[in-house]
């Protein structure tokens, strides 16, 4: 184990964070402890639950499985970057309107996963949506409202896009 510290810049939600961390520091810990972005949660630190899902260059990744140093030079997006000028974005609104959260612990992970889905495949089939969402765990909601919220946001965005 090396205690050598690494100095580099992490780009999160378009903002640069100069951080100094050990090589073994996970991206999740760097976001939470070094950047102060505690919206990204840890549910297992093991790559199974998806609570720590963030986007790296547009792809959903598990922040608990990556080392912070691996994110150098990449564009990271977290839940804190979703609201637009203080207003909830359409996906966040859809979560509230469809009661897609109870305790809210899994919510940032599902929001980031949902963001990736909306950006890459907004007309995703129901089966593919279930398949995609099965990578994250929620212990409170029973999931139906999470899927419904993502579907509602996709519909809202496609109507907006059409007008």
């Amino acid at each position: 184990m090396s205690d050598a510290m690494h100095d580099f810049t992490l780009t999160v939600n378009g903002q640069a964070y100069a951080i100094r961390v050990e090589a073994r520091r996970t991206l999740a810990d760097a976001l939470r402890e070094d950047c102060g972005l505690t919206g990204t949660h840890l549910g297992c630190e093991h790559g199974v639950c998806g609570a720590c899902t963030v986007l790296m260059d547009g792809q959903p990744v598990r922040a608990c499985l990556l080392f912070a140093v691996q994110a150098e030079g990449r564009a990271i997006r977290t839940v804190e970057g979703l609201a637009e000028g203080g207003a909830l974005n359409p996906l966040q609104r859809a979560f509230a309107e469809n009661h897609a959260l109870q305790c809210g612990y899994c919510t940032p992970g599902f929001l980031m996963l949902g963001t990736a889905i909306l950006e890459t495949d907004p007309s995703i089939s129901d089966e593919a949506l279930v398949e995609a969402l099965s990578s994250n765990l929620c212990r409170c909601t029973g999931y139906a409202n999470i899927a419904r919220a993502i579907r509602a946001a996709a519909d809202a965005m496609s109507t907006e896009g059409a007008t």
Binding site: G39, H46, E80, L82, Q102, T141
Partner: protein, 781 residues
Amino acid sequence: MDGITPAAGRRILPAGPGKVVGRGVARIEDGPLLRGEGRFAADVNFSRQLHMRVVRAELAHARLLRVDASAARAMPGVVAVWTAEDVAEIPPIPFRATKVRGLEPYCQPVLARDRLRYVGEPVAVVFAEDAYRAEDAAEMVVVEAEELPVLLDATAPPAEFASGLDTEPTVVRKEYGEVGAAFRAAHAVIELELSVGRHSGVPLETRGAIARYDASSDVLELHGTAKKQHWNRDEIARLLGRPPNGVHLFEGHVGGGFGVRGELYPEDLLVCAAALRLRRSIKWIEDRREHFVATNHSREQHHRIRAAVDAEGRLLAIDDVFFHDQGAYVRTHGARVADLAAGMLPGPYRLPAYRVAGHFRLTNKTPAATYRAPGRFETTFVRERLMDAVANRLGLDPVEVRRRNLVAAAEMPFARPLDTLGTDIILDSGDYEGLLDKALARFGWDAMQEELAARRATGECVGAGLAFFVEKSGLGPSDGVRVSIDATGAVELVSGAASVGQGVETVLAQICAEALGVDYARIRVVRGRTDRIEFGNGAHASRVTVMSGSATWEAALAVREMALETAGTLLQLSPSELTIAEGVVCRADGPAGPSVTLAEVARRMGPNAPEMRGRTPGLTAERWFWSDHMVYPYGVHLAQLRIDRGTGAVTVERYLVANDIGRAINPVLVEGQIRGGFAQGLGGALFEEFRYDPQGQPLSTTFADYLIPTIAEMPVVDVLIAEDAPSPLNPLGVKGAGEGGTNAVGAAVAAAVDDALRRPGAVTSLPILPAQVRRMLDGAA
């Protein structure tokens, strides 16, 4: 007003949807949670905090010989390492009030003293400057121990716990009626042996505890708490030798509770003791592996049940002996889950005679306590398996057998000569058969039977099953709420309740808004803080809406009366001519005419207003609600499923939960509770189980081994919320909705698996795993 007998003129919440009550309005909690601005335990930080890491036992049963912490102490960044000797003055973790005597010697010490009793038991703690260093140092602590034989089966004869004590601290016994005579007179006697696996709540947020000592004011604070702040505060104070007013507990956001969060655990005391002694803030966050071995388990029970029935399939008597696997120590609940199991087993049925003996036994596993629908998930499985067996024995339809035994609406309130949680069981209200009919119709039960028969004819393995349940909620004895309106008209509600993420703030705000005539979304709800209200009984046992909801109603009505009276003087009208709408006091008969805002009224009631001379100032009222009796929600679960003959995998296709909860304050939130509860029930029915190897090593220590359902396992779930039987015991008519979605899943799925296999009684244990189903399929062929 005693809170039991409705006082003359007490205002009952009128039936039907109100302005905000009874409507699925959006939650007031969601904003910060959606922006990533929540404050969960791990999000709490204090300057110069130390991080605590727990060294845990790696043997299930051993004599502890020596703990060598010298290497760990010498590591950079390590401030202290404690073993049992360092905390010798801290008493073991106590349990809450129980009538059961003699449990004290079985309580858990905060750090293991001379024996290790389960894998995961805290043995030592390391305090270091950062979490990574604390973890490194913990790995350097050497634990020397000599292995002892392990006990992993609660049905095996008890062994020695300590000298003079065996591993059966108590047997919970209840009995009424002529059990022996009933069995002698029976037309048939049905005997079953049934078991339920070891499960737990497994919230997505693990536990956390952050303690800070403020020497300037001599106050110890504990953050990251949940559920039972006031009781925990009093106990922490007592165990650490401080006055309760010098200890305060704070609740931020809680990532799911389900029974396991918010109990007093060794780690809570350790961070508090360290904050006092080391004069630094101490942060501890459990990791997932620790959670699986350190946080309360639940449920594991084995029942040997016998029933005497008459020729029509009516129950004459039940005689049940069960073994409750408590794990290594008695924790904060004492023998409560076994007591609940014994008390609630009869469920919705008439039962002339009953005898139960619950053997409460210790094993070398993680200690157990409550998990959503504690004692009921287990006994609903047992009782409903029994009803299916009665139907099968007498050649009756399973629905018909239940009809013949359900307590009738005309018999309500129905007193059983039984108690549980120290209260007599009086089923307060209900139309059980009415709900059964509604549920069967909604599910299309009869038409479905034909459909299933047609599918079977094509070779599919499909089936359906049902299970009835009775829940309990609204455990007293009391809860208080203070409602205040400040000089700007802002409304604050301070409750002794807590929230574990189920929407408590919104529900209390809705009730308050309904009574007061203000916007619910702008009410600030404060909960889970001992520094804001002197007493509280917390959030568990589906009690918040009943107890704190009723107190909110009373407090808000009291504030309303005060406001109308003051406004009446200002407007020179009688209070009875006035009402409050959108925060403005105006004439009840129309919006025209004089009016005054609540802000103005509050200013007129301030401490410096001449009118308030000699009176306690403020537009504020605190009201308490008391209850001696619980309320009993009830419902029925219906399941339709198919089995893959190749893999033995069970796929639930369609599911209905029908649940009468008296009154739904927010139907959308109630539905959310029921769906989420169902998902947990499904986990217990088909996937989840803590397993151990023969040496007591836990085999389920990651989410890859302890399988909680993902969206892929979820069927289409229909929810029927009934309000046919409002409770007469509170002004809102409510009964709790937290546990009905979970209660009967194991029972209904078991019945449907039997039906698919065409083998009545095939399922005798939960979870129903694919390997067992394959064996049953072979047996059926």
